[in-house]
Amino acid sequence: MNELIEKMVPRFPVNKKDSLLGMLQEIQKAHGFLTEELIREVAQYLHLPVNKIYGLATFYDQFRFHALGKYHFQICNGTSCHLSESSINIKDLENQLYTKDGGISRDRKFSLESVSCMGSCEQGPVVKINATVFTNVSPDELNRIIRSLKDKTE
């Protein structure tokens, strides 16, 4: 059994219904996303079919199934941000970050994800880069931020 799962076992009994979500959340916290191997292990541990777990996990926005880039961009696509005048065009962003919505750039530096609402509707458009939230972002400002991240040497 995988170490991470082994550590969880005492806290998540097999017969408890909500063990599943809790375990998935911890995996995501540790790895940034749900890896296939770990879902398999959870399935085995909880005696559930892999596909059922994957199906359930895809129901929630919070779970990811691919690795994230060094800089993970979340763009609010909620109604309010979407309508705010200087709204950010996701296609532009895809071009600038060299990745599709929901994907990761080849150099693994950027990943992009549009999310439904981040709860700051009055300050839209809202963009979150890793843990930092930027409010009232104009396209120009976003441009500047991206350029500076690109220029940053590792």
């Binding site: 296939e36 079919p49 596909n51 059922k52 199906g55 895809t58």
Partner: protein, 573 residues
């Protein structure tokens, strides 16, 4: 408790606890549904069966709503009809306009509903789902664009087959049927049984078609096309072409195949006889050593796949005897056609099976050596029907073709393979003979017959008693396997078939088969057993001849490679 309710202005008797739909079915009022399935608890998810009940604000789904004494119900009021129409219009909003080219054309529940509800124009248009067709699996093809998310496939795969290979992925308008990590069905827990195809109302699920390959072979002058058919096929073809299931049907069927250009025709039941001989000898060997019991049959490739993936500990218990399809292919290419002066490389063996899983079996490594495939293409019963139509065969003008190849000779035991319990019955007849030198009496084993998914009985053989079991519907097998894994010792042979009731209900059969057709297919098989002179595999003259001339005796070392397969120890995917 009984009481009267009013339906469409008429008094009708209803029972407490039944659903509105139960009552409607009984009095012959048809309401449409796209999610309901016989024998499953209703989900009420498609909403098409809604009816209007006086005093209730919203329309209620009749499949899940129970009757109550005060009810006055309208099943086809303007409001109800409008709701149903809107639902179908919305389903059509993202459904491709492809009916003309679709393999379910004229046999699609969505299409018929649109027609029944008099939908004559596209009311809504939304963005189509851009998900690729999943063609990774050699048996099953998935086209999510045609899916209406009724959920039937998920339920049958989970509740009847017990593997839960597919599920709803995502949420809201992004929902789709898929596998984990969007991988192909081939690397999921799918066992290729095709039961999901049988319940899908549209063409979102279908078999991988081999019609073109077979047509090409029929028209290739360098090839010598031959065909083998599984025991249940002629009766199913008769249903499709509205022919009476009589004795002649087999000969008519043969005539049709000849007309289409197949040079030789073989009844897979003959190979089933061979399977029985080998399997019986294999069992007796295990029995004498009292080792690795119970023996599981291994003729159902879906079951074999499941065991390979999930029950590796039990693999040694699976019989090593090859399935009839494999045996037939091998015997045809190795002996029969060579005596007709053909090289194995120019013989093209087609098999017709009521099964999608056999396609997968035929492509596997067990089905070839030195690049010779033993079966070159597998057609489902459905595909054969299409091919017969395509070739313009008219049954009413055919002369019944008498059985010309001796290799169609079979005992009725081989025929019994088509139904759950039948394989076991045929096997026991020969085991009895091999162990005691006498025929079993009575020859009919009634406990192993009938439309049940779990049958068991004790068989007296000389002084010994065997306990045998026939289980169908893979999900039902699980509990038996668990018992055996945790040490249950009193069972000696277990016959496993993935599809409920066996191949008569296989995933390659006509779509829309009901219990009535299952019963008549079953009856056709048992009728053959009733009338046939040779009822046991060991009396089939072809089989005894084969052993005399080529094979020696059953389960001998010399036949290990030809008629048995090495246990699968490496995980396949």
């Amino acid at each position: 408790m009984q009481f009267d309710i009013e339906i469409n202005g008429e008094q009708v008797t209803a029972k407490k606890g039944e659903t509105i739909k139960n009552v409607l079915d009984r009095i012959g009022i048809k309401v449409p549904t796209l999610c309901n399935m016989n024998g499953f608890t209703p989900t009420g998810s498609c909403r098409l069966c809604v009816v209007e009940v006086d005093g209730l604000q919203g329309l209620v789904p009749s499949c899940s709503h129970q009757v109550e004494e005060w009810m006055k119900i309208k099943t086809h009021s303007p409001r109800v009809l409008k709701a149903r129409k809107t639902i179908v219009e919305l389903l059509l909003a993202r459904h491709p306009d492809e009916c003309l080219y679709c393999n379910r054309n004229k046999n699609c529940e969505l299409q018929s509903l649109a027609e029944e509800l008099d939908i004559r124009e596209r009311k809504h248009q939304t963005k189509r789902l851009s998900i690729q067709i999943d063609r990774a699996c050699s048996s099953i093809e998935r086209d999510p664009a045609k899916c209406i998310l009724c959920g039937r496939c998920i339920r049958i795969c989970d509740e009847v087959i017990g593997v839960a290979a597919i599920d709803i992925m995502g949420r809201g308008s992004d929902s789709r049927i898929g596998t984990s990590y969007n991988k192909g069905l081939n690397v999921s827990s799918c066992v290729k049984c095709g039961q999901c195809i049988m319940v899908c109302p549209t063409a979102a699920l279908s078999e991988r078609s081999n019609i073109q390959t077979v047509l090409d072979a029929l028209h290739n002058p360098e090839l010598f096309p031959v065909i083998q058919f599984s025991p249940t096929v002629p009766a199913s073809i008769a249903e499709d072409f509205n022919l009476k299931t009589s004795k002649d049907i087999l000969n008519l069927f043969r005539a049709a195949l000849k007309k289409m250009g197949f040079r030789q025709i073989f009844d897979t039941s003959m190979a089933a006889d061979l399977t029985i001989m080998e399997e019986a000898a294999e069992f007796i060997d295990r029995w004498n050593k009292q080792s690795v019991l119970p023996m599981f049959t291994s003729c159902c490739p879906s079951w074999v796949r499941y065991a390979e993936e999930e029950k590796r500990k039990l693999l040694p218990n699976l019989s090593s005897t090859r399935s009839p399809q494999q045996m037939m292919g091998r015997v045809v290419k190795n002996y029969i056609t060579s005596s007709a002066g053909q090289k194995p490389s120019s013989v093209f063996v087609v098999s017709v099976m009521p099964c999608t899983s056999k396609k997968h079996e035929a492509e596997g490594d067990v089905m070839k050596d030195n690049n010779t495939r033993y079966v070159d293409a597998v057609l489902t019963t459905r595909e054969l029907v299409r091919l017969i139509r395509l070739m313009g065969i008219d049954f009413s003008c055919l002369e019944p073709e008498p059985n010309d190849t001796a290799f169609s000779l079979r005992s009725s035991a081989g025929k019994l393979f088509g139904v759950s319990g039948g394989h076991l019955e045929g096997l026991i007849r020969t085991i009895h003979y091999m162990m005691t030198g006498q025929e079993i009496n009575p020859i009919k084993i009634n406990d192993l017959r009938g439309l049940k998914t779990k049958k068991e009985t004790h068989i007296k053989i000389g002084k010994q008693v065997l306990k045998v079991m026939a289980v169908s519907g893979l999900a039902n097998v699980k509990s038996v396997l668990d018992e055996i894994e945790s040490g249950r010792k009193d069972v000696h042979i277990v016959e496993v078939m993935t599809c409920p009731f066996g191949c008569i209900n296989g995933g390659g059969q006509r779509i829309g088969s009901d219990e009535k057709s299952l019963k008549s297919r079953m009856k056709a098989i048992y009728d053959v057993d009733e009338e046939e002179m040779i009822k046991v595999a060991h009396k089939n003259p072809i089989i005894t001849d084969l052993y005399d001339k080529f094979l020696g005796h059953p389960n001998s070392d010399q036949n290990k490679d030809l008629l048995h397969q090495v246990p699968i120890t490496e995980k396949t995917v």
